[in-house]
C-alpha cells in the first residue's frame, strides 16, 4: 500500500514543475474527464426528469387545473399546506412510516445477506425465496397479510392470544394499521435490499478476513473489524435508498388499506396523487411535493455529513 502512494504523481520526487499552474490545469482536465463520464446519464436525467421537476417547483407557486394556463398565486399553496389537516396528517404518517420502515428493513436485509452469503447447498434457492416477496403480486400481498392480521381469525392475534394478549384490530384500527403496514413493507422489501448487501459483501477483500483469522479473532470481532467498515458504502447506499423509498411510499399501502381506516395510513405520495391528479389542484399538489423534496434533501444532507465525518475518522 505505502509503496503505491509514494509512487503516485503527487509525491515530491516527481514534483519538478511549478506547482500552482499544474494544479489548475489538472483541475480543468479532471473536470473535463469527470463531466465526460457523467454526461451520457446526466443529459437523459436533465431532459427527462429534472426539467419536469423544475416545472413542478414553478407550479407550486401557481394555481393550475392541468389544462388552462396557470396563474401565479405566490405562497398561497404553502399557507394552505400548513393549515390543511389532511396534508399534515399525511406528513406525520409518512414520518411515522419512515421511522419504522427504514431501520427494520435495513436490519432484516443485512441479516438475510449475512445469513445467505455463504457456500451451502441450496443457497440460491433461499436467496430466491427472500427475493420473492418483492415480486409477488401486490394484491396477493394485501390479501394474505390482511388475513394474517385479521382481528378474529388471524394467526397473528391467535399467537398473541397464547400469551394472554388480546390482539388489536390491525388494519381495521386507526392505531394499529400503520404498524401492520410497516411490517408488511419490511417483509416485502427486505429481499430487494438484501441483493445490494450481498453485492456489497463481495467487495470486501477476502484477504482481510484471512488476516483477521490468523490474528485469532472470533466471528463477532471479524464482523466488527472487517465486515462493518467494509460495508460502509453499501450501508450508506441502502440507508439513503430506504429513506427515499419511505418518503415516496404509495403502492403497497394503497392496495392494503387505501390510506385508511380514516386517514390513518394516508401518506404524502397518496395526498399528492389525490390533490393533483384526482382533484385537479396541481399547484397545491406541487407545494406538497416541494415539502417532500425539501424534507428528503435535508435528511440526505445530514446523512452525507455524518457519513463524511465517519469516513474521515
Amino acid at each position: 500500500m505505502t509503496d503505491l502512494i509514494t509512487a503516485s504523481p503527487d509525491s515530491p520526487s516527481v514534483l519538478a514543475r511549478p506547482r500552482p499552474r499544474r494544479r489548475r490545469s489538472r483541475g480543468w482536465r479532471n473536470a473535463l474527464i469527470g463531466w465526460s463520464f457523467i454526461l451520457p446519464n446526466l443529459i437523459g436525467f436533465v431532459a427527462i426528469t429534472l426539467v419536469p421537476v423544475l416545472a413542478m417547483f414553478a407550479l407550486s407557486f401557481a394555481s393550475w387545473d392541468g389544462y388552462n394556463p396557470p396563474s401565479w398565486v405566490g405562497l398561497k399553496n404553502f399557507r394552505r399546506l400548513f393549515k390543511d389537516d389532511a396534508s399534515m396528517t399525511a406528513l406525520w404518517n409518512t414520518l411515522y412510516y419512515a421511522v419504522g420502515y427504514v431501520p427494520l428493513t435495513m436490519l432484516a436485509a443485512l441479516g438475510l445477506a449475512l445469513l445467505l452469503n455463504r457456500k451451502m447447498r441450496g443457497v440460491a434457492f433461499f436467496r430466491a425465496v427472500a427475493f420473492f416477496p418483492y415480486i409477488t403480486s401486490l394484491v396477493a400481498v394485501a390479501i394474505v397479510w390482511n388475513m394474517l392480521f385479521n382481528p378474529q381469525f388471524g394467526p397473528v392475534n391467535q399467537f398473541l392470544g397464547w400469551f394472554g394478549v388480546h390482539g388489536p384490530g390491525w388494519t381495521t384500527s386507526t392505531t394499529w394499521a400503520m404498524p401492520a403496514v410497516i411490517v408488511t413493507s419490511v417483509w416485502r422489501d427486505m429481499g430487494y435490499y438484501m441483493i445490494l448487501f450481498l453485492a456489497g459483501l463481495q467487495a470486501i477483500p477476502k484477504e482481510l478476513y484471512e488476516a483477521a483469522e490468523v490474528d485469532g479473532t472470533n466471528a463477532w470481532q471479524r464482523f466488527r473489524a472487517v465486515t462493518v467498515p467494509g460495508l460502509r458504502p453499501t450501508s450508506f447506499l441502502v440507508l439513503i435508498l430506504l429513506t427515499v423509498q419511505a418518503f415516496k411510499v404509495f403502492d403497497l399501502i394503497y392496495v392494503m388499506t387505501q390510506g385508511g381506516p380514516g386517514d390513518a395510513t394516508l401518506v404524502l405520495a397518496q395526498q399528492i396523487y389525490q390533490t393533483g391528479i384526482v382533484d385537479g389542484q396541481y399547484g397545491y399538489a406541487s407545494a406538497i411535493s416541494v415539502l417532500l423534496f425539501a424534507l428528503v434533501l435535508v435528511l440526505t444532507l445530514i446523512q452525507f455529513w455524518f457519513n463524511g465525518r465517519r469516513e474521515r475518522k
Partner: protein, 287 residues
Amino acid sequence: MTTTALERRQTPRSARRVIGRTILYALFIAAAAAILLPFAWMISAGLKRNNDVFTIPIQWIPHDVQWRNFADIWSQIPMTTYLRNTVFLSIVITFLQVLTGSFAAYGFAKVKFRGRDTLFVLYIATIALPWQAYMVPQYIMMVKAGLTDTFLSLILIQAFGAFGVFLMRQFYLTIPDDLCEAARIDGLNEYGIWARIILPLSKPALASLALLTFVTTWNDYMGPFIYLTDNDHWTIQLGLQSFIGEFNADYAMMMTGSVLSVLPILVIFLFGQRYFIQGIATSGMKG
C-alpha cells in the same frame, strides 16, 4: 491404524456439524415457507374459479382445480405480444441503465472536480419525488416531443435514473484509489481504467443493478399505463390489470398471469445471483 484414530477423533465434531446443518436447514425451510405464504396464495388463486378466490376464510387448496386457467390465459389476452414488449423494454432499459449508470458513477467516485458532490446530492434528492408529483409536466413534454405511445418514451424515462449511478458509485468507493493510480502509471487513461480495471472488479454490483432494474421495469405498471396506449404496445402488467373491469374483476386469471409473469424473473434471478458468492471478487489489493 492412524486413519481410524483420526476418524474416531473427528466423528463427534462432524456429527455436531451434521446436527447443526440440519437445524439450520430446518430453520431456513420454515422461514422460507412463511415468507412464501402470499406467493402460495397467488398460485392457489390462479388455479381457482374466479368466484372462489376471495372466500372467507381463505381456501388454500382449490376444491375444484382449474388447470385450464394456465392454458386459457394465452388466448384470452394477447400474452405473447405483452411478453415480447415487456422483454424488449426490460432488456433495453436495463442495458442502458447499467451502461450509463456505471459510467457516470466513475465520474462521481473516482474523478475529483468542482460541483461534483452538489450535483450528486441533486440526483439523489430528485429520486425522492414520487412520480405522481411531476408526471403531468413530464407527459406534456413528451407529447410536445411526439413520443407518447412509443417504447422510446418509456426507455428515456427509466434508463437515465439516478439509482444506477448511486449504486455503482457506492461500490466503486470500496475499490482502492491506489489501484487506479497504479493503472495511471501504467499508462492507462481514465476510460481505460473504467473499462479494464473497474468494470471487471464490479461484477457483483453490476449483477445486482441489472437484476433490480430488470425487475423494476418488468413489474412497472403506472409508467407503461400512462405512456402506452395502443394495445399492441402493452406490457404484461397492463395485460394483468385488464382482468379488472369496471364492475367485475377476474382475479383468478389475474393471479394465473401473475404466476406466469414471475417465472422469467425467477430465471434471471437464479442466473444473476451466481455473482454473489463470496470469493469470486478479488480486490487486487494484496496485503
